[in-house]
């Protein structure tokens, strides 16, 4: 227990180092671009207006606005780092050396039981990742001496064991050993560098062929942008596992819209009732206050047990995700009404019903919109998570299925689309808010 805790703390400390390094690089690039940009523009803006004299007030967001140039260069930098780290073909030249692919060879010297030595060649063909239809190397039939030539097929960045003595004359005899690689002596557990890679001798005397990997990322972990783009085009036309890309996304969206709609349909009236009537407030308060802090994700197992993995379960889950948020928003909206507005309405001759429909309802709209924005965000996150656990279609289902086959490019496409749609939802909600409750925050 204590040991595990200690391990976690040590890991976290290392993470601090790693994260600092990543941020450091990113910030350094930022600083560089900043100086270059300012240098280019130093003559242009002599006068920046009095706004530039404004001091930064902490917590006052409006005093600092985002610099567009910085935003664009930041995004470009992310892509550049991505391309460099993956050795992308989009770059005009490779900044980091990439992993070796193609044909290479090395020579080994064998010593037989009688103490004679002979040399043979090992031809190595390194095939690109994920490409199984590369032409096979054929072993040469003839060779002089007792050591015979070998061929090895190995996938990019992978290693392969080769018993070079297997086809050699007397290779099975006691005392037959490989002693040199490319003229350099080798013993078990030693490595010799050869062209385009290295060769390791295992403890048992076999050779392990290890083509050069380079410092770039392996496509399995992070595919280069062009591969992701090609996969995107492929998904766009063919879909994945028989379901179209946009069909997957649409299904996620449909679930969110339905769940959110149900949440509003029941949550808003319930919130109003709780804000207006102390009995109903008392009646529902314990349930609402208990359910509110339960993350919707924690309900997924229960929902699966109850409804299975079908649509009903998903929509119910999203309904529950939206419900509490909408209840609390509507409740806060009606109970937050300024008492002088209520008094004003009464002394202008409004009846109770009129007060409710003409004052309390419209007054609560800003709060309801805030809640709706939060609920939409939570629903979108929840639907993806629910699809990860169990679903037949959907953006989450697509990426979890792809991850099982290590199709990292599909996973990345899915993540990007999920992010873009989540952002789009928020932008739409904000636009609706500005249109429908323009007085928000200015009362």
């Amino acid at each position: 227990m204590l040991q595990e805790l200690l391990d976690v703390i040590v890991t976290t400390l290392w993470m601090i180092v790693g994260i600092s390094a990543i941020f450091g690089i990113f910030l350094a690039v930022s600083g560089l671009v900043y100086f270059v940009w300012n240098f280019i523009n130093s003559k242009k803006d002599q006068f920046r207006g009095y706004g530039s004299l404004k001091t930064v007030t902490f917590g006052d967001e409006s005093s600092v606005s985002a610099n567009r140039v910085a935003s664009i260069s930041g995004v470009i930098t992310v892509f550049l780092i991505w391309m460099i780290a993956t050795g992308s073909n989009l770059l005009p030249f490779k900044i980091l050396p990439v992993a070796f692919v193609g044909d290479t060879q090395f020579e080994y010297t064998a010593t037989n039981a009688a103490g004679d030595t002979d040399k043979a060649t090992v031809k190595v063909r390194v095939t690109p990742f994920g490409n199984s239809d590369t032409e096979k190397l054929v072993a040469p039939e003839t060779s002089d001496g007792f050591a015979k030539d070998d061929v090895v097929m190995v996938a990019e960045r992978r290693a392969k064991l080769l018993r070079a003595q297997r086809n050699d004359d007397g290779g099975a005899e006691e005392g037959f050993r490989v002693t040199e690689i490319n003229g350099q002596p080798i013993e078990p557990n030693q490595i010799v560098q050869v062209d385009n890679g290295s060769v390791l001798m295992t403890g048992a005397g076999s050779l392990q062929v290890r083509p050069y990997t380079g410092p770039t990322m392996e496509a399995l972990y992070l595919p280069p942008p062009e591969q992701v783009w090609d996969r995107f085009l492929q998904l766009n036309s063919e879909g994945y596992q028989g379901v179209g890309l946009w069909e997957n996304v649409m299904w996620s969206l449909i679930r969110v819209v339905l769940g959110f709609f149900l949440g509003c349909l029941f949550g808003i009236p319930l919130g109003f009732a709780m804000g207006l009537n102390s009995w109903l407030r008392g009646w529902f308060d314990p349930i609402v206050e208990f359910m509110r802090p339960v993350p919707p994700l924690a309900l997924i197992p229960l929902v699966i047990i109850w409804f299975g993995i079908g649509e009903q379960g998903k929509v119910s889950l999203l309904f529950l995700a939206a419900l509490w948020i909408m209840i609390i928003g509507a409740r806060a909206g009606v109970s937050g009404v300024n008492i002088s507005k209520v008094h004003a309405a009464y002394s202008l001759g409004a009846t109770k019903t009129q007060l409710l429909s003409k004052v309390i309802l419209p007054n609560s709209l800003p709060e309801i919109f805030t809640a709706a924005r939060v609920a939409m965000g939570v629903c979108w996150g929840t639907v993806v998570a629910a699809e990860l656990v169990a679903a037949e279609k959907g953006a989450g289902k697509m990426i979890i299925a792809a991850s099982k086959f290590q199709l990292t490019d599909i996973v990345i496409i899915g993540i990007i689309i999920i992010g873009v749609i989540g952002f789009g939802i928020d932008v739409l909600m904000r636009m609706a808010e500005n249109k429908l409750v323009p007085w928000k925050g200015r009362g």
Partner: protein
């Protein structure tokens, strides 16, 4: 007997800790129809409480209010109220705010429109009828509040520090506007203020209240409101009796404030 009669009103608030506050004790005032009354007093002497009782938002714990021989039991459109701020409806534009009262009664839309146009003229907001409330300055907002109250044609207009949040110049203009409206419409107006000058200018009768328990301390009948109608208010302030009256009331209020402070310190 017509007019607004405050008959031996008392208001005691029970506090959650078991104690209680006598916000008002045995307050009686007879207010004639068309009278302009200003109410002055140190903070916490029960001015707002009195106004809320007059409006019908609070039920007094003792005594009763009657308007034109009818006992007041709750808010009604006969008694309009202008609040300090924040009581306009932000989701409606200026016209809709002003027309709110009539539309609640089901007045035909064309009549409402005529009334709103007329009132926009009176408060000088003709060009702002379609603006939203948050697009107006504080002074304009108070003019909308005044117009909204007038739209209902109430018998009594109650104002709780309606000009408290305005700058000096706007405030002066609004004071003239209140006097104009008072003269033109002949409404009974009861106005609470913290400014002694404003109380002198906007009160045919000035009521000074004293705290703990909240009660009427002194009443003055003043000529300044009548003088101020249609005249330059700065001229009125130069009247030979204005300065001395102001100083007398100021020192009275200062004495009361000091007494409160002293009591809190010794407590």
């Amino acid at each position: 007997m017509s007019g607004l009669i405050v008959d031996d009103i008392s208001m005691t608030f029970e506090l959650p800790d078991g104690g209680n506050v006598e916000a008002l004790k045995n307050v009686s005032i007879d207010i004639k129809e068309g009278e302009l009354i200003s109410v002055l007093g140190p903070s916490g002497c029960g001015k707002t409480t009195l106004l809320n009782i007059l409006a019908g938002f609070l039920a007094p714990t003792g005594g009763k209010i009657s308007l034109n021989n009818e006992v007041v039991t709750g808010p009604s459109s006969e008694r309009g109220m202008v609040f300090q701020q924040g009581a306009l409806f932000e989701w409606m534009n200026v016209s809709k705010n002003i027309g709110f009262g009539p539309s609640m009664k089901g007045t035909p839309q064309s009549d409402i429109n005529n009334r709103v146009t007329e009132l926009l003229g009176i408060v000088g907001l003709q060009d702002f009828s379609e603006k939203m409330i948050y697009e107006l300055s504080g002074g304009m907002q108070q003019r909308v509040a005044l117009a909204r109250c007038l739209a209902n044609d109430p018998d009594v207009i109650l104002m709780d520090e309606p000009l408290g949040a305005l700058d000096a110049l706007t405030r002066e203009k609004m004071q003239s506007l209140v006097l104009d409206i008072w003269k033109k419409t002949g409404k009974t107006i009861i106005l609470i203020t913290h400014s002694v000058e404003e109380a002198l200018l906007l009160g045919e009768r000035l009521i000074v209240m004293a705290p703990r328990p909240g009660r009427i301390h002194k009443q003055y009948n003043l000529p300044f409101a009548e003088m101020g109608v249609g005249a330059d208010l700065r001229e009125v302030k130069r009247h030979k009796k204005f300065g001395p009256t102001r100083d007398e009331i100021l020192s009275m209020i200062w004495d009361m404030e000091e007494e409160i402070m002293g009591r809190t310190e010794s407590a």
